[in-house]
């Protein structure tokens, strides 16, 4: 019975996408299907987290094939945690998007959004749950193909230009992933993650290192690790706010999750991995410096997104329980806060009619105090000031870096603090220019945008509030993250859960 719970988060959105196409003439039915299905996924993820935390990994063998041959879906603490937070974010962003559609187009909106969005959710969920490399590839493809469609909907010349870069980069990483799977299969004769871990241990360390590095490159493109990040700030900001929010919140984090899962379960690094730590350092610094230079607020946030991927890589690169706990907490925190900030800035852009700081009329704080509070809380959270969830995640990471005892760990901990200040500076710039000031010039635009939809504001409030809630629940949350990190690093129990028997 619990096995079925593992299949539902991937299966239901996919089936619902079909249903959604069938009822595409009836707006209400489409909305009901999307909201209903994603709510059930949230509930399912919560139950899964409870079960996985109490009883260990939940494993489903599709078609009843014994593990190395068939497809297995696995939900352990880490997947269930990511699943829960991602499901909540997809649901909230959907509500925001619906609010935006209702206030923009009334009832006569186009209908391709719902099915595509559901396929995207299915891909994200499947990526968290999959227990083999090839299904991971399929999950990435589900997710990316849906994202190609979402980013090119409502085409303008500018969007087509950005989408080209996005699609070509995505495809290149996909082809490299197929190549990696072929190489891995040639070396071991299996694609099951648990089985791979055992078989790769017998493979020449040079080959293993090369495969590990190729996997880092492939996922580095998807997760926007510097220097493979160039496509992200170019393409994300051109999409509508809810699409950007869900891309920024989820797609890169799915990459980070895949990196955590595969580098621990398959390549099983025993100590800190210098290559990854250097990549983390470069990603943090270059992303933050890029953000400071930007003029467009969405591009600024995209660069901050790149920069903060570095924090998660830092936690993973240490390959210690403390570091991994930090990385997991950071991923959970970052999914909510990044999506929330993109949504809030989407509302600011609707209110002022500008995304460029140079053309920003200012005075939003006086005209829309609620919006200003949402942005301020989100910005403080992203920069990692106490007492919000960003602070909790950063403290855990810094402790992991300090406890590692290596020079690189300490250097990275220092860089993480410095980059936090740069993040704060970049966000404070937006605050000063957009939220302070008189705002007289922009009053015409403000008139035009009219009232902000209460649904959209509420959606922003939920995501920003999630950061506060995570801080309020800091104790239990870090306890779960700690247990999740333990179980991720405890490769033998993962293997025996998936493959069965004692190992």
């Amino acid at each position: 019975m619990t096995g079925m719970l593992v299949a539902l988060p991937a299966l239901m959105p996919l089936l619902a996408a079909g249903v959604s196409l069938l009822v595409s003439r009836i707006q209400h039915a489409q909305r009901l299907v999307s909201i209903g299905v994603l709510s059930v996924v949230v509930a399912d993820a919560a139950v899964l987290l409870g079960v996985a935390d109490a009883r260990g990994a939940v494993v489903l063998r599709l078609g009843g094939y014994p593990p190395p041959a068939g497809i297995t879906l696995v939900a352990d603490r880490l997947s269930a945690l990511m699943l829960l937070v991602s499901a909540v974010v997809t649901l909230v962003v959907l509500l925001y998007a619906l609010g935006q559609r209702v206030s923009d187009y009334g009832r006569a909106a186009t209908t391709s959004f719902h099915p595509v969005y559901l396929v995207l959710s299915a891909g994200v969920m499947l990526a968290y749950l999959t227990g083999d490399l090839f299904t991971l590839f399929v999950a990435f493809e589900l997710m990316l193909t849906a994202s190609y469609v979402l980013i090119t909907r409502g085409v303008t010349a500018d969007r087509v230009r950005a989408a080209m870069t996005y699609v070509i980069t995505g495809l290149t990483s996909t082809l490299l992933l197929i190549t990696l799977i072929a190489l891995v299969y040639a070396a071991t004769g299996t694609v099951n993650l648990a089985d791979l871990g055992e078989k790769l241990a017998g493979v020449d360390p040079t080959t293993r290192g090369a495969l590990s590095l190729l996997f880092l490159t492939v996922i580095g493109i998807k997760a926007a690790v510097v220097p493979l990040h160039f496509w992200l700030p170019d393409s994300y900001p051109t999409a509508p706010a809810p699409v950007t929010a869900v891309f920024a919140g989820l797609l890169t984090k799915v990459g980070v999750y895949a990196l955590i899962r595969v580098q621990t379960a398959v390549f099983a690094h025993q100590q800190a991995w210098q290559v990854l730590l250097v990549a983390a350092l470069v990603t943090m610094v270059i992303g933050a410096l890029g953000a400071v230079a930007q003029d467009d607020v969405n591009r600024m946030l995209s660069f901050l997104l790149v920069s903060h991927i570095g924090y998660m890589l830092f936690g993973l690169g240490l390959f210690s329980t403390a570091g991994l706990t930090g990385a997991i907490l950071y991923a959970l925190h970052h999914i909510t806060v990044q999506a929330g900030l993109f949504l809030v800035l989407g509302l600011v852009a609707r209110h002022t009619g500008a995304t460029s700081l140079r053309r920003m009329p200012g005075g939003v704080a006086r005209q829309r105090p609620g919006l200003a509070v949402l942005f301020a809380v989100g910005a403080i959270n992203l920069a990692g000031l106490p007492p919000l969830s960003g602070f909790l995640a950063k403290v855990t990471l810094l402790r992991g870096g300090a406890a590692s005892g290596t020079e690189m760990g300490v250097v990275l901990a220092g860089a993480a603090v410095a980059v936090s200040f740069v993040t704060l500076y970049a966000l404070a710039r937006v605050w000063v220019i957009a939220f302070w000031g008189s705002g007289k010039e922009g009053s015409a635009d403000a008139e035009r945008s009219g009232q902000l939809s209460p649904v959209m504001t509420a959606a922003c409030a939920v995501l920003v509030g999630a950061g506060v809630a995570m801080a309020a629940l800091a104790g239990p949350l870090s306890a779960v993250a700690d247990r999740a990190a333990h179980s991720v690093l405890d490769v033998t129990s993962y293997r025996s859960a998936v493959l069965g028997g004692d190992r």
Partner: protein, 134 residues
């Protein structure tokens, strides 16, 4: 495992030519590059399954037939690359309608920020770039 030299050469040519085309400006060439690398990757999956075995019919020993798993994976990968290639073709068509050519463009905003760190106005080169794109 014995190495099949013909396959290695074919794979090398497919990957080499494909990545060369990927580096080009024209979207059509990029697309052809992706098709070539895609073929290379799918062939690679096949090659990963080892040498060809006997035909799978009743009475053949299980070890004698070739490994079906990479073939199943290659089939899935072929379908996926095919679908995404079609999407890219549609995109190239859109681009040629909207932008009048199928060149992959630079990041305009990036260039603007690089060339105008302080001044309020856009530099002439960027304005001309924008106009070129229209």
């Amino acid at each position: 495992m014995p190495i099949n030299i013909t396959l290695v050469v074919v794979l090398g040519v497919l990957y080499g030519a494909g990545f060369y085309l990927l580096m080009q400006r024209s979207l059509m060439r990029v697309l052809l590059g992706i098709v070539l690398v895609g073929h290379g990757a799918n062939l690679f999956l096949q090659a990963a399954g080892g040498p060809a075995g006997s035909p799978a019919k009743a009475g053949t020993a299980i070890g004698a037939v070739s490994d079906p798993l990479p073939q199943a994976m290659a089939l899935t990968a072929i379908v996926i690359t095919f679908a995404v290639t079609v999407l890219l073709l549609a995109l190239a068509y859109r681009a040629s309608v909207l932008l009048d050519d199928d060149e992959v463009q630079d990041d305009v905003e990036d260039r603007r920020i690089r060339e105008a760190p302080e001044s309020e106005d856009e530099p002439a080169s960027v304005i001309s770039l924008r106009e070129e794109q229209r």
